[in-house]
């Protein structure tokens, strides 16, 4: 098993999502044009959301790096870090990514970039200070696996889908409240109309939540997968396991922590709220560290 296998399966999934997305767009467009005579608002919303996300995808790396206040690293500034990344990209069969340093004391890292040729791996100063070489290798291999698995592509497409579902539900809710669906009340007796209305409202409230939960579940699954791929690359799962342990027990806060980029990091940058109730688990961008370490230790190399 190489990263090639993962890559093609991820690209397949991305196309599947695109297909699903198109079907849903056409289906809803059809339904709306049935209800209203004029579906132009919907088309505008669809085009707008797609455009927004395409732009986000194209510039995501630059935006994210700006948000984290990351600075580029040259070979001469950090030769050891540079060599580790270089060797891992050779082992993964990836082009050498750009390396960025973030002036934060919390040990953490993330990868971004729309494809391997434009990939960026960013690490915090704290990571370089607190981890030893084999742990650093495990972490960097994890980040490179995100690049190799095309996780950026998949997650961007999912964001498009999730965003779209929320826009649709939002529109339905608005129109329901302002009586846009009124045409239905005239025909049927009040009861069926009311039931339909309630079902519609319930669905429009639940659909975005469900979509978001799917997004988070996928994000968590990608983390597990990147952990596994990291073990595959370094052939030393204990390195990443011990790095995760160190990182999770480190309580240094991050100044640049931000909700929109939380899912990118190696571990959730918001620390402190350590309770893992089922509700928190459901809404977490990352699987609990203990579970990741447990799974890493189950891998036999």
């Amino acid at each position: 098993m190489t990263l090639y296998t993962q890559k093609s399966s991820n690209i397949r999934k991305t196309w599947l999502f695109f297909g699903l997305f198109l079907i849903i767009v056409i289906g809803i467009g059809w339904a709306f044009s049935r209800i209203y005579a004029n579906p132009s608002i919907l088309y505008f919303a669809v085009i707008f959301s797609v455009l927004m996300n395409v732009i986000a995808y194209w510039y995501s790396d630059k935006i994210v790096l700006k948000m984290a206040r990351a600075i580029p690293v040259e070979h001469k500034n950090a030769p050891e870090l540079y060599h580790i990344v270089e060797n891992l990209s050779i082992a993964a069969g990836l082009p050498m990514p750009k390396i960025y340093l973030i002036r934060e004391k919390q040990p953490n890292a993330f990868a971004t970039g729309r494809n391997p040729k434009h990939a960026v791996v960013a690490v915090t100063e704290g990571l370089l200070e607190k981890l030893d070489r084999s742990e650093l290798e495990g972490v960097l291999a994890h980040e490179l696996s995100h690049v190799g698995n095309r996780d950026m592509l998949l997650s961007t497409v999912i964001v498009v889908l999730v965003g779209f579902v929320s826009i649709i539900s939002d529109m339905f809710l608005r129109s329901a409240f302002w009586g846009g669906l009124g045409r239905r009340d005239d025909r049927e007796d009040g009861q069926t109309g009311a039931i339909l209305m309630i079902v519609g409202i319930a669905l429009s409230i639940l659909a975005p939540i469900a979509a978001m939960l799917i997004q988070l579940a996928i994000s968590r699954k990608r983390e597990f997968l990147a952990d596994t791929s990291s073990a595959l690359l370094t052939r030393y799962p204990e390195g990443l396991a011990s790095a995760l342990k160190k990182i999770s027990s480190d309580a240094t806060p991050m100044r640049a922590a931000n909700n929109t980029t939380a899912h990118l990091w190696l571990d959730d940058p918001f620390k402190g709220r350590k309770k893992t109730s089922w509700l928190r688990k459901l809404f977490a961008t990352h699987p609990p560290i203990e579970e990741r370490i447990k799974r890493l230790r189950e891998i036999s190399v």
């Binding site: 098993m1 190489t2 090639y4 296998t5 060599h83 270089e86 060797n87 891992l88 050779i90 082992a91 993964a92 069969g93 597990f224 596994t228 073990a231 595959l232 052939r235 799974r295 189950e298 891998i299 036999s300 190399v301």
Partner: protein
């Protein structure tokens, strides 16, 4: 019309089989190309090492006057490795080269002047890095070979592989038997 139905079914079956043939064949071609590409990655790193060695020997010459055989062996091993034709030969020659380099660096510990030479230290660091990179590219190559060989050997792809002459590729320098096995992952 039973006749028409039968021909329809037959046509459909033929189309499905043809499609499967094309896809599988292309898949095999692609994987064989991955293996070739990975091999050239190893080659790049090996060449880098060949290029570093003459500099190293040149630097060491002035200091290790009493132990000429040590660096002469390195040069000899390098020439042999560069001339190797098959992968098997190459692997053996490269291993010998790594061994002679190791000896050279061990012996250099006895020469404090040499150890203080900035040029020598640079070369030593770069050779160590190249060694790591050879390991990394080797691992990538072996991973690809394993994927490809599995495809070639398993049913039903092996039918197409056999017909069109796709042969198993050789692994390059597996350290342990464990590397031959796919990694065990539990989800």
């Amino acid at each position: 019309m039973p006749n028409l139905n039968l021909t329809n079914i037959l046509v459909a079956v033929v189309i499905v089989i043809a499609l499967w043939l094309v896809l599988t064949f292309n898949g095999l071609i692609r994987q064989r190309y991955h293996v070739k590409e990975a091999w050239s990655d190893i080659d790049v790193q090996l060449k880098r090492r060949y290029d570093l060695i003459p500099n190293l020997v040149e630097t060491v010459k002035g200091y290790m006057t009493h132990e000429k055989t040590v660096f002469e062996k390195v040069t000899e091993a390098r020439t042999k490795a560069m001339g190797a034709n098959t992968k098997e030969e190459k692997l053996g020659a490269e291993n010998i080269l790594s061994g002679t380099l190791k000896t050279l660096f061990a012996v250099s510990e006895n020469y404090p002047d040499l150890k203080a030479n900035a040029n020598f230290l640079d070369l030593q660091r770069e050779l160590a890095d190249t060694e790591n990179k050879i390991q990394a590219s080797r691992r990538f190559y072996n991973g690809n070979v394993m994927d490809y060989n599995t495809k070639v050997a398993t049913f039903p792809t092996n039918l197409i592989a056999g017909t069109f002459g796709f042969k198993k590729e050789e692994f390059f320098g597996l350290e342990t038997e464990a590397e031959r096995e796919p990694i065990q992952v539990k989800f």
